[in-house]
Amino acid sequence: MTNWIAVLAASAAAFALKLVGYFVPSSWLRHPVAGRVSVLLPAALLGALVVVQTFSVGGRLAFDARIVGLLVAVLALWRRAPFIVVVVLAAGATAATRAAGIG
């Protein structure tokens, strides 16, 4: 039930954010600060999400086989691998590390 509330609330908010851009006067978001913040927000949030997903378990810091997956992902992105390949390689590297009994 809480998941449904989250999914529907986030969907409503996402649609409202998209829609508002079609109805506000275009000068509204032209302010340079708004422009800069909107570019930088995804960078800050995604950077945060990378570390939280990799280094935490249930609100505690944890260092395990996921780190190997992240390093493999960096390597794959460096070699310009497509998104799906990056994700699969990271999962595979983590699974292999666990199977080897490390992390």
Partner: protein, 262 residues
């Protein structure tokens, strides 16, 4: 077909038959490439405790990759509904900026504004703003948006069904896939110094607050870094500011909605 009504100048050339085919090819290839990550969203959503239905409804209604991954990731880690929705929504703010640009470029009317809003994402914006003519922008936007929408939803279902058959997601390293997915979404944004610095600062803030704050809030706190940087750093990154839907192309680089692929 729209060519007939337009004066035969350079601008119309790009929307001739061959120009339209080029736009269609680009739009379809971006659409198909992007659709492939729907599989990873579906599988990760289920691994994070969402049902197959919840994963599919996210893709149908929320329809914004980064926001969907954030929602599932924070919920799966045990975060509150508020923290999950906040992370997801903060990531969606950029879509407002895209929508302002697209409203000026496409001028959709009536019910088409609602359809355009739902299809306003990184990829459709990127393809639209990189075209030289109004007809090309419109074609690029609608074809990319529709292709991604159909593909993303179909592959979400496939991924969710596959994920629900897997058993313990940790055995397949699916818990590490989320971090990799976020990194892959971040990567194309790291072309200038300022976003790199902000991404690192956001990561450090979230890391150091993880033991202190409830799950999900460290990510929301990291958003503060972007706000501070946007207010106080003046120089760099003109960014996707709703700048210049200039007539013609202008040599300025397209406002670069950093789409996932590429």
């Amino acid at each position: 077909m729209p060519d007939v009504t337009q004066p035969p100048n350079e601008a119309t050339e790009a929307t001739g038959a061959s120009g339209r085919r080029a736009i269609l090819r680009r739009a379809l290839s971006v659409g198909i490439a992007t659709s492939a990550y729907g599989v990873s969203f579906g599988a990760l959503a289920v691994a994070n405790g969402l049902t197959v239905w919840q994963a599919c409804v996210s893709s149908l209604l929320l329809f914004s990759g980064g926001s969907q991954f954030a929602l599932a990731g924070v919920l799966g880690a045990g975060g509150s509904v508020g923290a999950a929705v906040a992370s997801s929504t903060l990531l969606g703010i950029r879509n407002s900026v895209y929508a302002v640009q697209l409203a000026a470029l496409l001028r959709p009317r009536g019910v088409r504004r609602f359809a355009a809003a739902q299809l306003t994402i990184d990829e459709s914006t990127a393809v639209a703003v990189s075209q030289d003519t109004p007809a090309g922008r419109s074609l690029g936007f609608w074809v990319t948006g529709t292709t991604v929408y159909i593909g993303w939803n179909a592959t979400t279902l496939v991924g969710a069904l596959a994920g629900s058959q897997l058993g313990d997601p940790r055995q397949y390293g699916l818990d590490a896939a989320a971090g990799a997915a976020f990194l892959a979404l971040l990567w194309p944004r790291l072309k200038q110094r300022q976003p790199v610095a902000v991404a690192i600062a956001g990561a450090l803030v979230a890391f150091s607050l993880t033991p202190v704050l409830p799950v999900g809030l460290p990510v929301v706190a990291a958003a503060g870094v972007a706000v501070l940087a946007g207010v106080f750093l003046r120089d760099a990154a003109p960014g996707p500011g709703p700048s210049s839907p200039a007539p013609g192309r202008g040599s300025s680089p397209a406002p670069a909605p950093a789409g996932g692929d590429a």
